[in-house]
Symmetry: C2
Subunit: 662 residues, 2 copies
């Protein structure tokens, strides 16, 4: 997409909601399960508390969404948490947010794919026990699709998201109606009793119980992931952008919160039981452990099964749309990760070439990095959502908290400068909202860190630290180099021209590539031109001399002695001697080079030339001029490369969806 067209494809709210909120809404597919599961450690009775934990999460969501609506109005350019934190707090804070976001993109893929495979295994029992393999395969497919740069359309995304919302809403509504009419059945799992964990004998009383409730709350907070995506997508909304984005944000939050609480309430009504390890944590009424024969389905699947009785198509439908929306959620990370990488590269925190927008490889590298990291996580944690979730929420709340800190500073800076009393009042209001947001998200961050650190959050914190240190080191390196190469006042010296050009053509045989190199060197009319060969084998030298005389060029052939039968060292020594004799001369070394079409051809040609070139580049005052000779096979590669160039860039297609995401 051309730069000037970037702003053209704007999304109406009804398309923007599914495009940006698939991640936020999809978490409803696994957040209730995690709340139920954590409470279940304290036995069957404790699980009854789950709706209240859901309400607490929903309240936090209200605060976060209210706060981000302020972000949207203040940064309608879609700045994102990284820019909000960098601008208002400082670059180190911004870098912290960026580290958290990069780690979280990886976890978004890992958690969403793991949850999706759980739904797939519910619909296709044959997949049971192979979740990790299925998850890795799914990530590989997503990777290939994203590397190819397939064009997504907003409409294609919208359908499954609305189907998912509709399916869950219908399940919940039908369930509530059944309950009111007294027709709601019992979930299959309701016949099991939960074995509580040692140390939680008396349910949720005491410190252990309180900590467990906080852990359940922390796990449920996963429903908040993805909320910030809309605030990054403001530029893609139709006008009035900020207002539309804020409305969409509110709708997405309301949908997520309502579904989450409703699912938990209905689960309690239907007696849904969901535990960490069903084979040991569940016992039948007669006290027998459930054992390996019992397969535990996701909570939403269990509800669909209960509500729609034996109407299996409804059960399968819920599994399929849940799987699809989780795939879409994983895919948002594939879009967001390279874009954030590009922004960080622009600011010198990642290798600079990742910034180039039009550079397919930059995106490819980002996509591959994300995929490898997600696959490692899925494999290491055996695609178990419950274990992955322990790592997930830290990053989200680090970025929430620091972004809110940035917003608080933003208003504190702007309010004194605002003269219009009405707008000043509005800013004061926003300041209060963001302050509350900061307090709440900060508190949740502490809760998450305390309750989950030893369960796996430390891995995420360590990963953020590594990413932070790495990006800081890259930034430092670039700064050092920038200082070293900056033009100083003594520019005159750098503008002084070398007095003469001493050209050297290196040949080992007389054939068309060397003749071309000699011709090009002569065309450049250097002050001195020498044709050089390294005398490894006396017979070869004699033959070359004979051929040279036959060709009859008006140039002498100079043979460098090579007592140790090597090539690189005599040439380096010779060039060094020229540099020593005339330090102000520029030495241009012409190296004939084969251009090949296949990787294996590269093993058969140019190896000595390449080594020599690499070594020559270390010498100041030397220019290495590659004179290519295109072998026939190279034509095919050139054509392929040109076709490759002509393909749409992944970055472009995605921007069609909704502007720069972070």
């Amino acid at each position: 997409m051309r730069s000037e067209n970037l702003g053209r494809t704007l999304l109406p709210k009804r398309l923007a909601l599914p495009v940006f909120a698939s991640d936020a809404i999809s978490s409803v597919a696994y957040a209730p399960d995690e709340i139920l599961l954590t409470l279940a450690f304290a036995g069957t009775g404790a699980a009854l508390l789950s709706p209240w934990v859901g309400v607490a999460v929903a309240l936090v969501m209200v605060v976060v969404i209210a706060s981000y609506r302020q972000n949207v109005h203040a940064y309608p350019s879609g700045g994102g948490d990284y820019e909000v934190a960098t601008t208002n707090v400082g670059s180190r804070t911004g870098l912290t947010v960026a580290s958290a976001l990069l780690v979280d993109y990886v976890l978004t893929v890992a958690v969403s794919v793991a949850a999706g495979t759980a739904y797939a295994a519910a619909a296709l029992p044959v997949l049971h026990g192979h979740e990790a393999k299925v998850g890795v395969a799914v990530v590989l497919v997503l990777t290939v699709v994203n590397l190819r740069g397939v064009r997504e359309s907003g409409r294609a995304v919208a359908l499954p998201v609305y189907l998912y919302i509709g399916a869950v809403a219908l399940t919940v509504l039908v369930g509530f109606v059944q309950r009111m009419t007294g027709n709601l059945g019992e979930a299959e799992s309701a016949s099991y009793q939960i074995v509580h964990q040692p140390g939680l004998d008396s349910g949720l009383v005491g410190l252990a119980g309180a900590v467990l409730v906080l852990r359940a709350f922390a796990s449920g907070s996963v429903a908040l992931t993805g909320v910030e995506a809309i605030s990054n997508g403001v530029p893609a909304f139709r006008k009035p952008k900020a207002k539309n984005a804020a409305t969409t944000l509110g709708v997405a939050g309301a949908v997520s919160a309502t579904l989450l609480v409703s699912i938990l309430v209905l689960s309690r009504m239907a007696g849904v039981v969901y535990v960490d390890d069903p084979s040991t944590d569940l016992v039948t009424a007669s006290g027998q452990p459930a054992g390996d024969a019992y397969h535990q389905y996701p909570v939403v699947s269990q509800l669909a099964h209960t509500v729609f009785g034996n109407f299996m198509p409804a059960f399968y439908f819920v599994a399929v749309v849940a799987g699809v929306i989780l795939l879409l959620a994983a895919n948002t990370a594939f879009n967001g990760f390279p874009v954030l990488g590009s922004i960080l590269a622009r600011d010198g925190y990642l290798p600079r070439q990742l910034h180039t927008r039009g550079d397919r490889l930059a995106y490819s590298n980002g996509i591959l990095t994300l995929a490898v990291a997600a696959i490692v996580l899925i494999w290491a944690f055996d695609a178990q959502v419950t274990r992955l979730i322990q790592l997930y929420i830290v990053g989200v709340f680090v970025s929430f908290t620091l972004s809110q800190l940035g917003m608080v500073r933003h208003w504190r800076r702007l309010i004194p400068t605002q003269v219009d009393p009405q707008r000043r009042t509005s800013m004061r209001r926003s300041h209060v909202i963001n302050t509350v947001g900061l307090a709440v998200t900060g508190t949740v961050l502490v809760v998450v860190l305390v309750t989950k650190f030893t369960y796996g959050a430390w891995i995420a914190v360590a990963a953020m630290l590594v990413v932070f240190v790495l990006m800081n080191a890259i930034h430092h390196h670039y700064a050092t180099v920038r200082t070293a190469v900056a033009l100083d006042d003594d520019e005159a010296t750098s503008r002084a021209l070398p007095s003469r050009v001493h050209a050297i053509v290196l040949i080992s045989n007389l054939h068309r590539p060397t003749m071309r190199a000699i011709a090009y060197a002569r065309a450049a009319r250097p002050s001195v031109l020498e044709v050089i060969t390294v005398g490894v084998n006396p017979d070869d030298v004699d033959q070359l001399r004979t051929e040279w005389n036959q060709v009859g060029l008006p140039l002498p052939l100079k043979v460098l002695d090579s007592p140790f039968r090597e090539i690189t060292r005599p040439v380096l020594t010779y060039v060094r001697s020229i540099r020593r004799e005339s330090p102000r001369d520029l030495v241009v070394v012409y190296v004939p080079e084969y251009v090949v079409g296949h990787w294996w051809e590269a093993l058969l040609h140019n190896q000595s030339a390449m080594r020599l070139k690499r070594r020559l580049l270390f010498m100041p005052g030397v220019v290495v001029a590659s004179v290519p000779w295109q072998l026939e096979s190279s034509a095919r590669t050139r054509n392929l490369a040109e076709q490759f160039d002509a393909r749409p860039l992944p970055g472009d297609t995605r921007r069609g969806l909704g502007g720069p995401q972070q």
Copy 2:
């Protein structure tokens, strides 16, 4: 070592024998075991035949040695089997020999190391069951030692070889004396009975028995490996080279044959029992299987134990010297493999850069290839000599047979041209010897192929085939390229100079590296000089333009439009347009390039420049001139590289030992 000094370090016979014959003599350490083991398949009685199988092997050895004495006289330059076959039969035959030799070098390492670990496990029971790991570790140590290019001296090699010969000879002699005086004890293993294999109930009668004897003979023929090494080493002998080499060859053969037969005879006297799988193949007098508690020691170790009774130092001494000579045998392959690779590269069968004698990397690549292949074999066959030996002897006899075929043709060609009747008679005699050699080695090759093909020889044959096809393909590729680049009669066109030079300097910032590139381009005084930048970001372009005007160079700055925010494509398009407008112009693109000292710095710099360079090289009529800017870190790397250059080359140190080996 300088070329003119290569011939100086010549070896007297007493040093040449251990240097070149360690491989041949070391096979005595495992050949008797293999003969005994194979015959044992037909039960205790069959094993009594082993001395006669040893005699058959010794007879073949006499024929082979007599034949190779002719090779030595006819090719005193140390041509080796590859050159003998290529010169006299043809290049495809030579290539077959080379494939066989390359595969055999790998097997020399694998078999020698595996046999060495068996001796080590005999002396150190703690190694039992970890032979594969120990073997891999040994190969890794050999690899590092050879990569470092440690100087070996002939004397250092001579000592263990003579110690080994002395130790085995002493064991055998003392044993014979004990036997004559009636004092020879029974080997520990003599108390066991061998369980014969199904189908061989009646011992060695019938077809199955005959085939088994042939298999035992084929396994014992492993004693012949390494015989050809001396014929390759002729140039390293003192004068008269050929005569001394022939004498050494005879001595080495006599030593090997005598030791082999003596060991087998003494084993029979002492009742040594040696089987494939002692835990199931052996039963005690009471009919109990030997089980896992019984450790089977190599035959020579068993003999030392029997002869020297409870004098354990003698037992350990034999184990240590056997281990050392087997290491030396493996090391000869580490010397020979890269040398043969270099010869094959010279003839265009392997990547050309492997030929460069003075090139440490060429040797390193050969050493690493050999090590990886040997490790794979040791690991795959769990360091079991018996299984590895099935693969080993095919290659040796392919090369023996084809070399003898070459010698027969050699004499047939030379005899008619010889006028001196005395020398003609001598040639006739050689012709007869080599013809007998051809018949015997050819027969043994057939026996080996038939009796061992399904036991593992097919793997070696398949590997040879792969190597053959690969080398042929490389040769074909080089031939095609040579034709494509050869100077034709229309040389005038290739000597025509481009009419003008159109220089382009690519910049993205104004700093010292770009200023250097511009200065160098100006110094070359091209017909046209343009400074070009790609306009990805309008703000960046404006800033660059301002800085450009401040610097005040007498050149315009040209901005290429990049509607898709990419760098490579606009430059390629622009260069293409120049080429189209003035096809006879030479386009020189100056690319400023950072020279870095660490691999990770390469990830942070130049990536866009590198991609552009690679793509530009595909365009005819374009020269890419790299203008390096040496970052500070590069100075350290340059110094390291210069130190690396100053280190002795592995090829040199080895040539001090004994000239070009194949």
